[in-house]
Symmetry: D2
Subunit: 138 residues, 4 copies
């Protein structure tokens, strides 16, 4: 899997001259979208199947500031999986330096009800679980 | 009609320390939403009626910068109306000083097709046209 | 201390029709700014003193979706304090229902170096610590 | 000069399922930044020279909606120039179809005072004016 690259935009920087912390949550979404695309299961494909994937929780540790024109390399890993939820981790680097690490937890819904993704979209579940390396499937 | 107030947020300011210019387009939307609410015809009500109102064009002249915690007073006026389109103007002030003037043009669609709002939602059309002061109904 | 209110804007909602999850991080900042203002120590005052307060980490648990025009009441608490760092917690409610709970950790810098806020701005430190209720000062 | 490409992000789409109109103003900035970079005169370089370039006015005509994952090709042209101001036009296309056309006017300031860019940064002025094709230098 290729890392995702986000180049920091002018409008993403704040009065302190650095990338506003809220934007990393958006970069994580961009990287997750790209990761799923690389697997052949984009958000758009899942949504076309009437399944949506809300964010259950998110966290972010800011290690070093970044600014306008910095290119942030984002490595996405699927760190936990159950029938109902996926957890992703994100390692964001500027060159060799880790600037931010993040985590997000996702469930799946159809008609506003939670669904077991392993049953609802079994092929998708299988492909994603094939990316699990260091962790167990819950 | 009361003017709408937007207090500039920290995350709305950029590297120059001032409100990023793109945000005024959002403030205009906030003020327009409030203006329609004051008339009793909010976006949510129109959208519940399955009518959506895309923006056809927008423009903005920046007179003076604003920054974090500035309170911007936004006066909304309906400046032109036809069966198909509404034009709003926005005068944004910080205290007495005009900081920005904007304009936006809107059409109405239902099932992705343009609709004559005068026929589709005649009461709404009537109430809005009652707010026209300096301009003619096109 | 009064809770902070954020009314969800049209542009804050996403394709799923709900408030995009990244925006809650911004609402937390708004509420924190307001909380400090209520204590008489706004960001602008501290920044005028050449002290900046970067976010060290942030987390958010999404309990229930919110959407356009929902009014979110945000209760801010200072949950941990040390000489170097402050931790805030945020309870966001729509009516009685908790929609989101968040947490953020902050340090203080001057000329890009961390400072002990208890020494650099002792009065500010004292006033904030006066708001600590359930937790110990670290 | 190469056109700039922006792929629409999930968080840039609104409740109508389309790219929120305010975001095009940001895409214009991204494309302008890239255009200046291609000429070897990035924002960062000019700002390092203590010259800032606020936006004087902006306008946008929305021709067709775009949505999540659409790739927007943005062609930037310098359409007017004077000693004090630059005007850019933007033609945004999805494939062959023009989805949006925009315009922005910029001045230059140093220590909060307007400067004649032809005198303050003559080489930059010369390089940009070399890109003028259809228009006269004002």
């Amino acid at each position: 899997m290729k890392t995702y690259q986000h180049e920091v935009k002018y409008y993403e920087c704040d009065r302190m001259g650095v990338t506003h912390h809220s934007n990393y949550i958006r970069f994580m979404e961009e990287a997750r979208v790209d990761w799923l695309d690389q697997l052949g299961y984009g958000f758009d494909k899942i949504e076309a199947d009437n399944v949506f994937s809300p964010v259950v929780s998110v966290s972010c540790e800011y290690k070093h500031p970044t600014t306008f024109k910095d290119v942030i390399d984002i490595e996405v890993n699927i760190s936990k999986m159950s029938e109902m939820k996926f957890e992703f981790t994100y390692t964001m680097r500027k060159g060799e330096k880790v600037v931010c690490v993040g985590k997000s937890l996702h469930c799946f819904i159809e008609n506003n009800r939670p669904v077991a993704i392993s049953k609802r979209l079994p092929e998708f579940f299988k492909v994603v679980s094939g990316q699990m390396t260091h962790s167990e499937i819950g």
